[in-house]
């Protein structure tokens, strides 16, 4: 067996992998390296309960416990390079960490806008510190909140801020929000729901820069048409980029994430998991990279087994090919997406209605069912998800859904 496994990134996917390595009997040394000082928290509550002030930060802890996993923690310094031939990592503080097996779990980080780094009151939301900074700005009386980007994070922050009583403006460069994730019809529905809740949603609106006072605190967001929107607080949610900078020159294939095989291997004895990993999905016939909570767990489990199996020389394992699953909570609705939807897919509501805000819709591509979207319909999403497992045709799934 490997003597030493090093895990870079000690968050959801990395720690799930650590847990599974131990569960599967790995008894060598386990190093967990993370740029952050503390990683034991879960991200979904950061745009929901913790931001709302309903939960203390401590409640947003990660699933499981790492207390008895025998981990050597190396926190507070990033990995800045890796030598796969001589098998060691270089850390930001000059330390070197040798390994036999390597787990790449460094996730993704938010895109930023030029100039925001020098200003107070303009934030992204990825870490607990980001969340607490935004929350304390809200607690401190920020009432005019501008959100740049109407993706899921932006939409959840808009919802939470609205429920806290703020005036909220959402600026989205595209004419339709979330189109790539859930298609135009559903994207516009989400925009409409935000408007009903009093959010000023401005689509097709580009951002040009920020305005600020002498204290460098933001006072507004400048739009591409020259006008400005006043703001006490700006949250930028314009997507994330996989954290691959430290892998430059490593020889691994990096292309919008670390490209892995069906066993999540990037190279012999090297696996990549979670938001950073792009795997060849048999189900969808293409490389997929998803930024979903459940995928981080499933990849962590799968990669631990594939690392240990490779070490044993064994083969013949099942390929990694789950049905992606994602949820988002906004206002009083819960959105769930099983599978993989795209802007060009067929789409039909099969039970409930958009007016009730309680429905399930199905996405089809080339005659096959590819995705199931539900709003406040968890039971039916799960029943229709089974049709994805079965590889049902679109027509069959629609007929089944209508009969539910």
């Amino acid at each position: 067996m490997f003597g030493t496994v090093a895990i870079v990134g000690g968050s959801l996917s990395g720690l799930t992998c650590a847990q599974t390595l131990r569960d599967e009997g790995f008894d060598g040394s386990l190093f967990v390296i993370d740029a952050e000082d503390s990683t034991a928290y879960d991200r979904p509550p950061l745009s929901k309960q913790v931001l709302a002030g309903e939960w203390d930060a401590e409640r947003a802890h990660l699933p499981g416990t790492t207390a008895d996993l025998g981990i050597t923690w190396m926190l507070g310094h990033p990995a800045i390079g890796v030598d796969l031939a001589d098998r060691f990592l270089k850390l930001g503080n000059g330390e070197m960490v040798g390994f036999d097996g390597l787990v790449i779990a460094s996730g993704a980080a938010p895109r930023v806008l030029p100039g925001m780094g020098e200003l107070d009151g303009v934030r992204v939301l990825r870490t607990l510190d980001d969340c607490l900074a935004i929350r304390s700005a809200l607690d401190g009386g920020a009432t005019r909140v501008v959100i740049v980007g109407a993706g899921f994070i932006g939409a959840e922050v808009a919802s939470t801020c609205r429920q806290r009583g703020c005036e909220v403006v959402v600026l989205e460069a595209l004419d339709v929000p979330l189109e790539r994730a859930i298609g135009a019809e559903m994207g516009m529905l989400i925009a409409d729901i935000h408007r009903e809740h009093g959010v000023d949603v401005r689509l097709g609106t580009g951002v040009d820069g920020f305005e600020h006072g002498g204290d460098r605190h933001v006072t507004g967001v400048r739009l591409s048409d020259g006008s400005a929107v006043p703001a006490d607080l700006v949250v930028v949610g314009i997507g994330v980029v996989p954290q691959t900078a430290w892998l430059e020159g490593s020889g691994l294939t990096v292309d919008d994430g670390v490209v892995v095989d069906e066993q999540l291997r990037a190279a012999p004895g090297v696996v990549a998991i979670g938001d950073i990993a792009r795997w060849p999905s048999r189900r969808y016939g293409r490389l997929l990279r998803v930024e979903h909570w459940e995928n981080a767990i499933q990849m962590g489990e799968h990669a631990a087994r594939s690392l240990l199996r490779e070490d044993d020389g064994g083969e013949g394992a099942e390929p990694y090919d789950p049905i992606p699953w994602f949820w988002s909570d906004q206002y009083d609705f819960k959105l769930q997406l099983a599978g993989h939807a795209g802007a060009d897919d067929q789409f039909e509501i099969v039970c409930g209605s958009t007016e009730e805000r309680r429905f399930v819709g199905l996405y089809g591509r080339a005659g096959r069912l590819v995705g199931v979207l539900g709003m406040n319909r968890p039971r039916h999403v799960m029943q229709l998800r089974q049709k994805l497992v079965d590889g049902a045709s679109y027509d069959e799934a629609v007929a089944f859904g209508r009969a539910l």
């Binding site: 767990i297 699953w325 819960k334 769930q336 039971r379 999403v381």
Partner: protein, 63 residues
Amino acid sequence: MRVVVDFDLCESNAVCMGIAPEVFEVRDDDFLYILNETPPEDLRPKIEEAVRRCPKQAISIED
């Protein structure tokens, strides 16, 4: 084995039902029902999976 759900945490997203429909069911009223609180041992792997996948960490197993 006894399956315990903390209903204060559960948000009825039906993830557990997708994994172990023999034990968990979210009904049309949007509440989660436990169909069998003391399921047979052969369901343990599925229930352990549900424990790990529950986004609210609402499920536990008491032996």
